[in-house]
Amino acid sequence: MCWLVALRSSIIIAFLLWATALSGHEMTPAYPVIKLSHVKDVVKVEMSLFNSREEIKYYQIELFDLNWTNIPFSTTYRIIKVGYKEHKAFDVYIRKYDLPEAVYLCTTSKVKKSLVSSTLISSRICSRLDGKPA
C-alpha cells in the first residue's frame, strides 16, 4: 500500500515539475472593454500581460484592422520589458476616428539571436476590440 502512495506522489511531483518547466505567454482580456480616456476623442483599452517564458524579456504591442494592416495608436512603450514570471498592465490609447477600423490588439514576443542552428518560437496573442462574435 505504501509503495502505491509513494508511486502516486512521485508521479504528481514529476507532473508538477514538468508543468512548471513550461514557459508561456498570456494576455488578457480577450475582448477588452473600450473606456473613455482623459484626452478628448481618444479611448483607452486596459490590458494585462504575463510572461513565463524565461528566454523572453520584451514584447511588442501592435494594433491591426481586419486585414492585418497597422492602425495608429499610442502607449507608454511599444516594446515593453516584462520580466520572467512578471505581470505587466498596460494601456493602449486609440483615436475615436480609428476605433471602427481597429480589430486586433496583439502582443508579440521578441526573440533573441541564438548561438545554435535552430528555430526560435515567437508567440503572438491577439485580443479583439470589436467584441465577441454573435
Binding site: 498570456e26 480577450a30 475582448y31 539571436k113 542552428s117 526560435l120 518560437i121 479583439r128
Partner: protein
C-alpha cells in the same frame, strides 16, 4: 469582578460571517513553448528540423479556457532571421500538425486545418490543451553546400481571438 467577566463571556456571541469567494472564467489563451526546434544538417545543402534528418521539431502548446473563442495560426519560416552571408536562393518548405491533445475531440483539428501560404490555421473549438509541432526545411540553391555558421529561423505561433 470574576463573576462579571464570566457573565460577560456568556453574553458574547461568536462572531460569524459568510465570506464569499467569487470568480469568473473568461476567454484566455496561453501559448506555451515546450521545445525550441533544432536544425539538423543531413546533407551539405539542407537544414531540416525533421528527426529523421537529425533535427528537433519545435513544439508549442496552446491552452484555451473557453471553447470556440480562438484560432491558432502557426507560421513556418520562409527566411533565416540570422545566418552567414548567402549568395544563392533558399527553397523553404514547412508544415504544422497537432501532435498531442488533452481532449479526444481535438484530434479532428488536423483534418479541419486550413493552410494559407506558410500559415496553418486551426480552429480551437474545444477548451483544453493542444500541442502543435512545426517541420521546417531549407535547401540551398542548386544543391550548393551551405556556408558554415549558425542559422536561425523563427516560427510565429499566434493565438487570435475570434
Amino acid at each position: 469582578m470574576k463573576y462579571f467577566i464570566v457573565v460577560l463571556s456568556l453574553c458574547a456571541f461568536p462572531a460569524l460571517a459568510n465570506v464569499e469567494i467569487t470568480g469568473s472564467v473568461e476567454a484566455k489563451c496561453v501559448i506555451q513553448t515546450n521545445k525550441s526546434g533544432v536544425y539538423g544538417n543531413p546533407i551539405a545543402s539542407k537544414l531540416s528540423t525533421t528527426p529523421a534528418d537529425g533535427g528537433v521539431l519545435p513544439i508549442v502548446r496552446y491552452d484555451v479556457s473557453i471553447a470556440d473563442a480562438y484560432t491558432a495560426n502557426i507560421t513556418h519560416p520562409t527566411a533565416f532571421s540570422s545566418s552567414p552571408t548567402l549568395s544563392d536562393t533558399v527553397a523553404w518548405t514547412g508544415s504544422t500538425a497537432v501532435t498531442q491533445t488533452s481532449v479526444a475531440g481535438m484530434s479532428a483539428y488536423n483534418a479541419a486545418k486550413t493552410v494559407v501560404g506558410n500559415s496553418t490555421i486551426f480552429n480551437l473549438t474545444l477548451a483544453g490543451s493542444t500541442w502543435f509541432s512545426t517541420a521546417s526545411s531549407a535547401i540551398y540553391g542548386s544543391a550548393k553546400p551551405l556556408p558554415g555558421g549558425t542559422y536561425t529561423a523563427v516560427v510565429l505561433a499566434s493565438c487570435i481571438a475570434k
